[in-house]
Symmetry: C2
Subunit: 200 residues, 2 copies
């Protein structure tokens, strides 16, 4: 009994991984269930054995993405011994994941946008977005603490700023601008400084 549940969950995860791979390659609008199945080692019918419909599959994928994503910068916060180290670590981490997971990030932005039209994705996307906001806020607020400076911005505004910077770097990176990641690594610490002016 327990075996079966695990097997079932494992295969779901395996199929979701194949789906993520395909979605990241083709984008939401151009990915069919047959595309996904062809990218796995199974036939297209099996998807409806493990997922009730396309939405549940993609929703599951989004949740799986979240697990990898949300704790990405946590070690930066806990390990940094100084404001300067945190600042540089933040920039390096963003540049790193930009280089490593560019297509997965592209998919995230795609699905986040789809959720503005397809309400089936709305809840999960919103939850991930809030998690990301909290993640950014842990960094920014910790930085202000270490640096002993004020913090003149709300958590959501801080998230929006760094998200905008990351998106732009992603676009350029995907357009083969070789220096996109390096530029991001430079810009992020500078903006972090600007957002945290010295105490009056």
């Amino acid at each position: 009994m327990r075996r079966q549940v695990d097997k079932f969950a494992e295969r779901r995860a395996q199929l979701a991984a194949a789906a993520l791979q395909t979605l990241a390659e083709l984008g939401y609008a151009r990915t069919s269930l047959r595309d996904i199945a062809q990218n796995s080692e199974f036939s297209h019918g099996v998807l409806h054995y493990y997922f009730s419909d396309k939405f549940e599959l993609i929703t599951y994928c989004v949740r799986q993405y979240k697990a990898e994503c949300v704790t990405r910068y946590d070690s930066i916060v806990t390990d940094a011994g100084s404001a300067d180290e945190l600042k540089r670590g933040f920039g390096a981490a963003m540049a790193g994941t930009l280089r490593e997971d560019a297509r997965l990030h592209r998919l995230w932005y795609d699905l986040r946008n789809q959720s503005l039209f397809e309400k089936a994705f709305k809840d999960d996307v919103t939850e991930i977005d809030q998690s990301l906001e909290r993640m950014i806020w842990r960094i920014v607020s910790r930085y202000a603490e270490l640096a002993g400076v004020s913090l003149a911005l709300s958590p959501s505004a801080a998230y929006a700023v760094f998200d905008g910077l990351f998106y732009q770097a992603l676009v350029r990176h995907l357009a083969d601008h070789e220096d996109a990641a390096a530029t991001l690594e430079e810009t992020v610490p500078r903006v972090l400084e600007l957002l945290t002016p010295a105490r009056a």
Copy 2:
């Protein structure tokens, strides 16, 4: 002869307007040519009389969107007599278009993302994006000039920052956060200040 060309161009524009309307409502992934035709006063076949295929139609739409969009803030720059006025005008203009054209902005972000997967849109999207970057830069650099402050950020980084803020406000506005526009109107001037620290 001239009559015919004008008529032809006029109908193209008219159909593109219907297409923009429909795309803004449904999003790229869920909009078919029949949806678009149904939203106009013509039948679906006429679209292939005025446009060679779906991509040409949408590309034409994107260009039409650009015309409305790119000069949106120009009067703010030319009319502002002081840094403070420019700062407030910028925030008010962003909040205004957020309230007025929310669904069109949603479409823009959708198509901008599609261009990361469908290279047919890439060139036009890139061109619009650069126009927007220049538009933001005219504001930011003029502000620094009027305020007599330094400017520690590149044009692209400045654009990314305000674009991120606007996107987030758009998402919240569409999710019926009544205060999304008002919050944006507050945040934009504050961030503009932060990005332009007083001269050392």
